[in-house]
């Protein structure tokens, strides 16, 4: 039998030491470098980080509780004591915004995470198996798409009562549909690539091909879409709160705060202004960050 003479390798060949090797720059590293050149995305990232830190750590530093009422104090504009004023019940607006931010942000991220997990698994499975399974799975997605979202949520609240987790699940259950479609499309194109064929012809297992060869190559678009999903989810939560289906008082999300502020807009404008400011800054920064990530992760799509 003819054996290829590749092994054992000739000993006279010097084995390069790890530290002598030229380090390559991975696509991730390149993407980060490109992102750093995108000033707008960087500002967005910094802004978002600041808002997130304020919301997470802020409540520990303020002397007020979010439910702490000072009825005698009443609604006041911004003062040194209350930087963003107080509402009609004398509650500190900044504290309430920070607490509301915690809720809004966690709804945003949790629901996105839910949609990510369901969407990626569902979409990747559908595309990888293909054929009739794929057709059936995607028709199911189409049917869910056709369901009116608000009625779906009202139904859920009627059955399970109002709770924060319900909001996560409700929103996640809607958002995963788009994610599944995106991931399916990506995997379908990827499946045709020769490096996947190469992996198959090397006899790698299906699990290995999905984990090592498919998923790392769809992570880019997934991250981008996730970044853009977070603000969309926060908006949805605000809509739910608007309809009175969101979090329950005295807890408040940004959506609830804006809703309350809207009612008192003519009398106490700061009650609308400050939560709306936080909310829009967050939406803006996430959207710009998402755009920046898209350009950075897929240099071909961007126009110089």
């Amino acid at each position: 039998m003819i054996r290829t003479t590749l092994s054992p390798s000739p000993d006279d060949l010097p084995v390069p030491k790890l530290e002598e090797l030229e380090r390559g720059s991975s696509l991730w590293k390149d993407a980060w470098r490109r992102l750093r050149q995108n000033r707008l995305a960087l500002i967005a990232l910094a802004l978002f980080t600041v808002i997130a830190i304020v919301c997470v750590l802020g409540p520990f530093m303020t002397p007020y509780g979010y439910e702490e009422q000072r009825l005698a104090y009443g609604a006041q504009g911004p003062t040194w004591e209350h930087w963003m004023g107080t509402d009609a019940l004398g509650r500190d607006q900044l504290t309430r915004i920070m607490h509301g931010g915690r809720i809004s942000l966690s709804v945003g991220f949790m629901a996105t995470a839910v949609s990510l997990v369901i969407g990626v698994l569902y979409g990747a499975t559908s595309a990888y198996i293909g054929g009739r399974t794929d057709a059936v799975m995607m028709r199911f997605v189409d049917i869910l798409y056709a369901m009116p979202f608000t009625i779906f949520v009202i139904l859920l609240t009627v059955i399970f009562g109002r709770s924060l987790y319900l909001i996560f699940i409700a929103i996640g259950a809607v958002e995963w549909l788009t994610m599944a479609r995106i991931v399916r499309g990506q995997v379908l194109t990827l499946k045709q690539q020769e490096f996947i064929e190469a992996a198959v012809s090397l006899g790698y297992s299906n699990g290995r091909i999905i984990l090592r060869h498919l998923i790392p190559n769809v992570v880019g678009p997934i991250i981008v879409y996730a970044t853009l999903t977070v603000p969309a989810v926060m908006l949805l939560e605000a809509v739910l709160s608007f309809l009175g289906l969101g979090v329950q008082p005295p807890m408040a999300s940004w959506g609830v705060l804006i809703n309350e502020g809207k009612d008192a807009m003519t009398v106490y404008p700061w009650l609308l202004f400050f939560p709306a400011l936080f909310f829009s800054l967050t939406l803006f920064s996430l959207n710009f960050l998402g755009d920046g990530l898209r350009d950075a992760l897929d240099p071909k799509s961007s126009k110089d």
Binding site: R34, Q37, P299, D304
Partner: protein, 333 residues
């Protein structure tokens, strides 16, 4: 007076990672009715230089930095106002692209697409234009043109579409036809048909043709004169016989020797070491020097003068050949 005189054409692309010097000081002339081949590897600037002539490069990032391209001694294509250029494109200069699958609009009937240049450039009526279109389809060997002309592009095979493209390009009887890799996407047997067709139509109409290709075989078969391009510049320019039998540039020679030609028998192929240069780096001296077997210190020095007359109209950019230090014919013995 040449039909087209290109001088110092320079097209750069301003990318995020730097300036890509795609075409860097290209000069050549084209006479009436002749066939000029522009040959080079990918990234040599052969296509970009032709696209620049018709203002077809994407701007930004592309920019024509300097140079002139005078058509018929009257219009500078690079500076002509849009209006003027529009009247030249498709009328006096026509183009055939590489991929016949994507260069026809899939939503329009062949007839609609074919009569368009006639309506625009010659002000013909629909009826007359249609008659001319059918005629020109017949001239490119499409049988039953009266019926075929009402079909959609996807109903044609690749070779047939390229025939349609040629018929369309030649329908206004242009003075210049630029064919950008017209047969690269086609099979060899179909390529032979298309090359014969272009040759025949050119003879009948007296059109000058610029062939852009990477295939020296195609060049040998159809061209009168050849420009060999490398890294955005012309390395050598001469008649086909000069280029193939009396090459005055090491790159041209290396290119010919590295073809698995149909004559050599099983011996190792000649290879050019290394890879083409990074076009974002500023060039000093000969761009081929790092890969050249005859490279010497002064090739990259200040004396390097680019393309210059070697013998009559035969030009080379090789400094050592120009200085008489290197005789490639001797070297090859």
């Amino acid at each position: 007076m040449p039909l087209l005189e290109v001088n110092d054409l320079t097209t750069w692309f301003h990318m995020r990672d730097g300036i890509v010097r795609a075409v860097d000081g290209v000069s050549f002339t084209l006479d009436r009715g002749e066939t000029l081949g522009i040959v080079g590897e990918s990234g040599s600037g052969k296509s970009v230089s032709c696209y620049s002539l018709l203002d077809l490069i994407p701007k930004p990032p592309g920019r024509i930095e300097r140079g002139t391209a005078v058509l018929g001694g009257e219009v500078d294509l690079l500076r002509a106002p849009r209006e003027v250029l529009r009247r030249i494109r498709g009328k006096r200069i026509a183009m055939v692209f590489q991929d016949p699958m994507t260069s026809l609009n899939p939503y329009l009937r062949i007839s609609t697409q074919m009569i368009e240049p006639l309506l625009i450039h010659e002000g013909l009526g629909n009826r007359e234009a249609l008659r001319r279109a059918i005629e020109s389809l017949e001239e490119v060997g499409i049988h039953d043109a009266v019926r075929q002309i009402d079909l959609y592009p996807h109903q044609f095979s690749g070779g047939m579409r390229q025939r349609v493209m040629i018929a369309m390009a030649l329908i206004t009887h242009p003075e210049i036809l630029i064919a950008d890799e017209p047969t690269t996407a086609l099979d060899v047997t179909v390529q032979a048909q298309i090359l014969e067709l272009i040759k025949a139509r050119q003879r009948e109409l007296g059109t000058a043709v610029i062939y852009v290709t990477h295939d020296l075989g195609v060049i040998a078969g159809v061209c009168d004169r050849v420009n060999v391009m490398y890294a955005g510049t012309i390395m050598e320019s001469g008649t086909v016989d000069e280029i193939f039998y009396n090459s005055a540039h090491p790159y041209t020679q290396a290119l010919q020797q590295s073809i698995p030609s149909l004559h050599d028998k099983g011996k190792s192929l000649y290879t050019i070491p290394g890879a083409p240069p990074d076009l974002t780096e500023e060039r000093s001296g000969c761009p081929f020097a790092p890969r050249c077997a005859y490279e010497e210190a002064h090739c990259t020095g200040p004396n390097y003068r680019g393309l210059d007359a070697f013998r009559g109209r035969h030009k080379t950019a090789c400094l050592r050949v120009l200085e008489g230090e290197l005789n490639l014919k001797e070297e090859n013995r």
